[in-house]
């Protein structure tokens, strides 16, 4: 697995004054420099986007340009005016930017052809663009939860939350306009760490207070559970968090063990080599064979399942 790239915020300082004239000022600025800058869309601008085979009855998609990929394609993040259904992956865009409140849906990001860009509406203030980039970066890195300080909607705490269905349905509709960046926009639900974090949030308890300090990376799906966490202790944790054992929880746990299982003897072997003065290999330590990891994952999941039924 690749190391996550550290995020470099463009600007985190909020400007001191802005109001509802932002949209008009943004368009005036665009008009002043239009002759010198040409007609290309630049990151941070908000455009209307036509469906690929648009008709007069169609709606236009509103989106923020995040990157011009090449002359013919641009990366976008769609905007929606249904802010009531904002999740933790939807950034609230201040109403001054367009004249009404919208949310930027980073989990529905994608690419469109430049020819689909129809009309420029406004642009994001630098600090809002900085927040959007930060949220989008977290999503790209596969983070199960977004950075804490952003203006986003309430967390999704349950699989039954209608906002997940709305997001999935919106993703379907958006296929008429764009190529999606995420095949499954609700993928964060497949992460075991995310499930633990969401349930701890749901019962109002910090996950850190329920786990041993050396398990801290469990929330980020970076812990070798098989080696570090006894199955009965994990079962007890699931019970404390009121996590209902179902297929999704089982699958995410299986996947985590499969991804992270790294048998102790490999560590010992490496440590021994270092002690004997041999060079540590530059390449990452290779994982145990797939068959062995599958066996470990199956064994661990079954042990947790048994632990739960005993409790």
């Amino acid at each position: 697995m690749n190391e996550p790239t550290p995020y470099q915020p463009r600007s985190r300082e909020r400007p001191t004054e802005l109001d509802a004239t932002w949209r008009a000022a943004s368009n005036a600025h665009y008009a002043l420099f239009a002759e010198t800058r040409g007609t290309i869309a630049v990151p941070g601008e908000i455009w209307t986007i036509l469906a690929e085979h648009a008709t007069e009855e169609d709606q236009l998609l509103l989106a923020v340009i995040t990157a011009p990929l090449n002359g013919e394609t641009v990366a976008i993040i769609p905007l929606a005016s249904e802010s009531l259904y904002a999740t933790e992956w939807d950034l609230a865009i201040p109403s001054a930017v367009l004249g009404y409140e919208v949310i930027a849906q980073v989990k529905l990001a994608g690419t469109v052809a430049s020819a689909q860009l129809d009309q420029r509406l406004s642009s994001l203030p630098p600090h809002v663009m900085g927040e959007l980039e930060e949220l989008a970066h977290a999503a790209e890195q596969g983070a199960s939860i977004p950075p804490a300080h952003l203006s986003v909607g309430p967390w999704v705490l349950s699989e039954a939350d209608q906002r997940l269905q709305i997001r999935a349905a919106t993703a379907q509709v958006l296929r008429r306009y764009m190529n999606p960046a995420y095949q499954d926009p609700s993928r964060e639900w497949l992460s075991f760490g995310s499930i633990l974090l969401r349930h701890s949030r749901a019962i109002g308890v910090e996950l850190d207070t329920l786990i041993e300090p050396e398990w801290a990376r469990i929330a980020h799906d970076e812990l070798d559970l098989f080696e570090r966490v006894p199955a009965r202790k994990l079962a007890a944790l699931l019970q404390k968090l009121q996590v209902k054992w179902n297929e999704r929880v089982r699958d995410s746990l299986y996947k985590l063990v499969l991804d992270r299982y790294n048998p102790t003897e490999a560590l010992q072997g490496s440590a021994l080599a270092r002690r004997q003065g041999k060079r540590t290999p530059k390449a990452k330590r290779s994982k145990a064979p797939l068959e062995r990891r599958e066996r470990a994952a199956e064994e661990y999941v079954t042990a947790v399942e048994n632990g739960l039924s005993e409790q």
Binding site: S11, R14, P15, T16, E17, L18, D19, T21, W22, R23, A24, A25, S26, N27, A28, H29, Y30, A31, L32, F33, E35, T36, L50, E56, E57, D58, Q59, L60, L62, S83, L84, A92, P94, S95, A96, L98, G99, Y100, E101, V102, Q119, L121, S122, S123, P125, P126, S151, P154, W155, V156, L157, S158, A160, D161, Q162, R163, A202, I203, G204, Q242
Partner: protein, 331 residues
């Protein structure tokens, strides 16, 4: 007679940011037609006021102030799409008006439900005001009360995936919004999921905020009538989901003043015109009695002056402040 709205009109209105649409005769004519043609059975509970009043209320409470008209214009690819969006919005407005009493009724129903089921619900902290009384599960009493964070409250309500009763436009009576069984599932589910005590006001606020049940215009009652007012907790400090806004302190004023000082009188006029109609150079030239080439030259000069006064990241904000200052409304 006003000519019909065209797709070009829509593009023009989008350029000007929707604000002009509120006074655009063609838009107003279209909206009036939609109200006039709406079948009686779909909005019968509003008809007592007359259709002119319905149009005025729709414009004032839904289309203009919250910016819905601008949002619809931005989204509509053509006039036909705008008509469809507007007709749907009118129905939503009518439904919203119809359920303006809903929060109050839900408050009473929840209060009755909690008191009528001592085997399931018990008082955790008693208050002389029903809305401030905290409740917990009788079978699993909570040891702490729910923190007053609206986002978290909404997250739990969404998590319960409530089945709401749909409003039938033609029905004579308004629906209850939640059946009795579903309301009980809500109260129990919230207390169970949060594992904390919740006040009646918080339980109601969860529904109101999650499903957008709060009427968009409601005069607040007098303080002495607040005893069991549904939104009391909100007024006492529960964070509401207002959109984030920009702070009001103006640090760009010095740059804006510098820009104004460096512009000629004509350049100031050109800037004002560009601000009002950014794409219409020909119209601006006619308005100011000069050629388009002159406007182009003046635009370049304004751009150079702006570059000298502000960094690229600050220029939009400086322009906004400049215009406000020129219009006599500096912060």
């Amino acid at each position: 007679m006003t000519s019909a709205l065209t797709d070009d009109d829509l593009r023009r209105l989008r350029r000007s940011g929707g604000a002009a649409a509120c006074n655009d005769q063609k838009i107003l004519t279209m909206l009036r037609e939609i109200v006039e043609r709406c079948p009686d059975e779909k909005i019968h509970w509003l008809l007592g006021d007359g259709r002119d009043e319905i149009l005025a209320g729709w414009l004032e409470r839904r289309l203009i102030a919250p910016g819905r008209l601008a949002a619809m214009i931005d989204k509509a690819n053509g006039v036909r799409a705008l008509r469809a969006l507007a007709a749907k919005d009118l129905q939503q407005y009518a439904d919203e008006q119809r359920r303006s009493e809903l929060p109050r009724r839900l408050f009473r129903r929840l209060d009755k439900l909690l008191r009528a089921n001592p085997q399931r619900f018990q008082v955790m902290i008693l208050s002389d005001k029903p809305g401030s009384t905290y409740w917990t599960l009788a079978g699993r009493p909570a040891s702490a009360i729910f923190s007053e964070r609206e986002q978290e409250l909404r997250a739990h309500v969404f998590g319960l995936a409530l089945n709401t009763l749909t409003e039938t436009p033609g029905a004579g009576k308004q629906t209850q919004f939640l059946s009795a069984a579903e309301l009980e599932r809500y109260a129990f589910g919230m207390l169970e999921r949060t594992a904390r005590g919740l006040s009646l006001d918080q339980l109601l606020l969860g529904l109101v905020q999650t499903f957008g049940l709060k009427p968009s215009f409601q005069e607040l009652p007098e303080e002495d009538l607040l005893n069991d007012h549904p939104f009391e907790s909100e007024r006492q400090g529960i964070e509401t989901h207002d959109p984030p806004e920009f702070p009001g302190n103006d640090a760009t004023l010095p740059a804006a003043r510098a820009l104004i000082d460096s512009l000629t009188a004509r350049q100031t006029d050109v800037l004002r015109c560009i601000y009002a109609e950014p794409d219409n150079q020909r119209e601006i030239a006619t308005q100011l009695g000069c050629s388009q080439a002159t406007i182009s030259t003046e635009k370049n000069a304004i751009g150079i002056a702006l570059n000298a006064c502000a960094a690229p990241d600050e220029q939009v904000e400086v322009l906004a402040t400049t215009i406000r200052h020129l219009n006599g409304t500096p912060q």
